[in-house]
């Protein structure tokens, strides 16, 4: 059986499984559509949240970004896990006690203002749509690879699949499907990593293999450092960027994690307040299984690629064009070339492909000496690394098919969760909550599905010209959530001083400055070439657009505090509400406000 058929088989089988579960658990009522009837066990909920959370950014993109920069991208690892500490300690139990369905319902009630609820909905929509763009990028790459077509076509086909799939059920269908998706994605991520770790270090646990030694007895990371510096690239384990930017970037990802509507929504679906605390922990257990493996995947893939391009060592002859064309070990290069995400060119016509950093002066001297005319591995999109990894390591065909299925599971589960958050924001909060309160359940569900379709169309249009690699696009979404939603939720629980005007002013200030900073660097509405600054030379010192969320959050806190101090104190019944949210006693089942 050839690889193409094998991929189709794995992807097809996994899809049949998800659709089967979605049909079986189809949501009947609005309550089931949004919150799965609150009958979900913390461990099950944790697994589903982990699948919901780990998206194309975590599965497809993150290890690739770490592989090509090393230590500097550790922010993704710390940021996307550290946020769960904030969630578990600062938000989850209290929001569960509050007992409504959506994040904006809490903000609307706590700040006794329908304007606050509306602003929260807008913030959620901006963050979620940016996030969906990143997912669609991942979907495009995964479909492009396994159908062996250009990523643009992959994106278009993928969006149809995501749509068909997301409108099927609501949270209930999605919860059980996501448990299945978690199992598929974690197996798909771990198996190739175990194989590769065994090949390189002899240790079957990739997380330990990363700090292990290679056959020669040399530590893996020391060997990697030596090879990449030989090729003129930055040392893998060393810090290169600005410390301030790294701290702010990590903080933005952490705060953003705790401010993302589709993740927070999950903690509304556990039966009790104490379950909300445990559930955050279980979620992180399931996430950590992938996140502890990811840095090993990155480092080992970087080592494998460098050695494939320089099979005779960095001082020997580079790989020949003939070998790339004929040797089965290199056949992955031709398959990936079809997606438009990998390319090479024999610039100096010597029949060899020299891969090195042609911006490095030392290497330029070496190149002049050897007659090289620039780096000949002309395009290596970081987002392909995880999907190509089993092929790069010459693993068996079924592993490659499994990874294709896993990548799609990751992208699909998150896209579905986000679309659900978007549709509930539009139909439940915006239409039912504000514009047409007398809407029937049936038309509410219809509105939910129409808004899902609209969100996909917007994401596809913007996803064709993404503002960065998938994980970077997603990082922007986190910055937006960090600057707008998290501060409002936290102040709503921990302060009895912040009033309606303060919260609205804070959210708007945080969202606007962050969005402005992103657009200044990434182009207005992410339209290419409309940016005034670049992340290589940002407006404010070392602070890149992906790191600005933390600053936006501080602006939000400060604005809310100052404005609340100048306006009317909050009424007694809201103070009572805050007091009651803080105490688990009498949580009971939650109710929708209609």
């Amino acid at each position: 059986m050839d690889q193409f058929t094998l991929n189709l088989l794995f992807v097809g089988a996994s899809f049949a499984l998800y659709i089967g579960i979605a049909v079986w658990a189809r949501a009947g009522s609005t309550s089931e559509f949004y919150a799965a009837g609150r009958g979900v066990h913390p461990v099950t909920n944790g697994m589903a949240t982990a699948a919901d959370w780990m998206s194309a950014a975590s599965f497809i993109s993150m290890a690739g970004l770490i592989a090509f920069t090393g230590y500097d991208n550790s922010s993704f690892l710390m940021g996307w896990t550290g946020g769960y500490v904030l969630l578990a300690l600062l938000l989850a139990p209290y929001l569960r006690k509050f007992g409504k369905f959506t994040v904006s319902e809490f903000i609307g009630d706590r700040f006794y203002s329908s304007t606050a609820r509306l602003v929260a909905v807008i913030c959620l929509l901006v963050a979620s749509i940016t996030y969906v763009i990143g997912q669609m990028q991942g979907v495009g790459i995964a479909f492009g690879r396994f159908l062996e077509i250009d990523t643009t076509w992959g994106l278009l086909i993928g969006s149809c699949v995501v749509f068909a799939y997301a409108v099927f059920g609501g949270m209930k269908g999605v919860t059980y499907t996501q448990v299945a998706q978690y199992c598929v994605l974690i197996t798909a991520y771990t198996i190739p990593a175990v194989f590769i770790s065994l090949q390189l270090t002899g240790n079957p646990i990739p997380a330990l293999g990363l700090f292990g030694t290679v056959e020669s007895g040399e530590p893996l990371l020391a060997k990697l450092d030596a090879i990449v510096t030989d090729l003129g690239f930055a040392e893998y384990t060393a810090a290169h960027g600005s410390t301030i930017n790294m701290v702010l970037f990590t903080l933005s990802l952490m705060i953003g994690t705790a401010g993302l509507p589709h993740v927070i929504m999950r903690f509304f679906t556990v039966p009790r307040v104490s379950d909300a605390r445990w559930s955050a922990g279980w979620t992180l257990v399931f996430i950590a299984l992938l996140y502890l493996t990811a840095p090993a995947v990155g480092a080992m893939a970087r080592l494998n690629i460098s050695e494939l391009m320089w099979p005779n060592g960095t001082n020997g002859e580079a790989v020949s064009v003939e070998q790339i064309d004929n040797d089965p070990e290199y056949s992955w290069m031709a398959t990936w070339q079809k997606t438009g995400l990998l390319d090479w060119e024999d610039k100096n016509g010597d029949g060899k492909i020299q891969y090195y950093n042609d911006a490095n002066e030392e290497l330029q001297a070496k190149a002049a000496e050897n007659g090289w005319e620039g780096n000949e591995l002309t395009n290596f999109n970081r987002d392909i690394l995880v999907l190509a990894n089993p092929e790069i390591a010459s693993l068996p065909g079924w592993v490659i098919g499994l990874v294709a299925a896993g990548g799609l599971a990751a992208a699909l589960s998150t896209a579905a969760g986000l679309l659900l958050a978007i549709s509930s924001a539009v139909s439940h909060d915006l239409l039912k909550g504000q514009l047409t309160p007398n809407m029937s359940e049936k038309s509410e569900l219809l509105a939910a599905r129409i808004s899902m379709a609209a969100a996909i169309v917007v994401a596809v249009i913007l996803g064709l010209n993404p503002p960065g690699f998938a994980a970077q696009t997603v990082a922007l979404a986190f910055g937006l959530a960090a600057a707008s939603i998290f501060p409002a939720l936290m102040m709503g629980i921990f302060s009895t001083r912040i009033n309606n005007v303060g919260a609205v002013a804070g959210m708007l200030a945080g969202l606007v400055v962050t969005l402005l900073y992103i657009f200044l660097h990434k182009g207005w509405f992410f339209i290419p070439d409309t940016n005034l600054f670049t992340d290589a030379d940002p407006l404010l010192g070392p602070i890149k657009s992906t790191s600005f969320g933390a600053i936006g959050a501080m602006v939000n806190f400060a604005t809310a505090y100052v404005v609340s101090g100048m306006t009317k104190e909050i009424p007694q019944e809201i103070k009572d509400l805050v007091e009651s949210v803080r105490i688990p006693r009498g949580a009971g089942a939650a109710a929708a406000d209609h």
């Binding site: 550790s74 300690l89 990590t250 840095p295």
Partner: protein, 94 residues
């Protein structure tokens, strides 16, 4: 004062104590959270460079794996501690 109002006052007093204990737990946990990630993983990494771990230094390990393990321990410790506090202050769910 009737018995009922005394009880209500007692409950309010207890709730205050519970919340103060909770906030203290949160603060301690967040200090640890920040020290392992922003501290050991980023800002204090140069200070830890003397301690080597598998071909690199301890700061690199904290940045790529150590902080995640500490985060996990923190969340479970907090959940366990809070469930005990809930009972101690009589604020648990029925």
């Amino acid at each position: 004062m009737s018995e009922e109002t005394t009880n209500a006052a007692n409950v309010a007093e207890q709730d205050k104590g519970y919340w103060a204990a909770n906030v203290r737990m949160i603060l301690i946990s967040l200090v640890i959270w920040a020290v392992v990630s922003f501290g050991f993983g980023i800002i204090l990494r140069p200070a830890l460079s003397g301690i080597s771990v598998g071909g690199t230094d301890l700061g690199f390990w904290f940045a790529q794996q150590g902080s995640i393990l500490v985060f996990l321990a923190l969340i479970f410790f907090y959940a366990w501690r809070m469930n005990k506090l809930d009972k101690q202050y009589g604020v648990e769910e029925e």
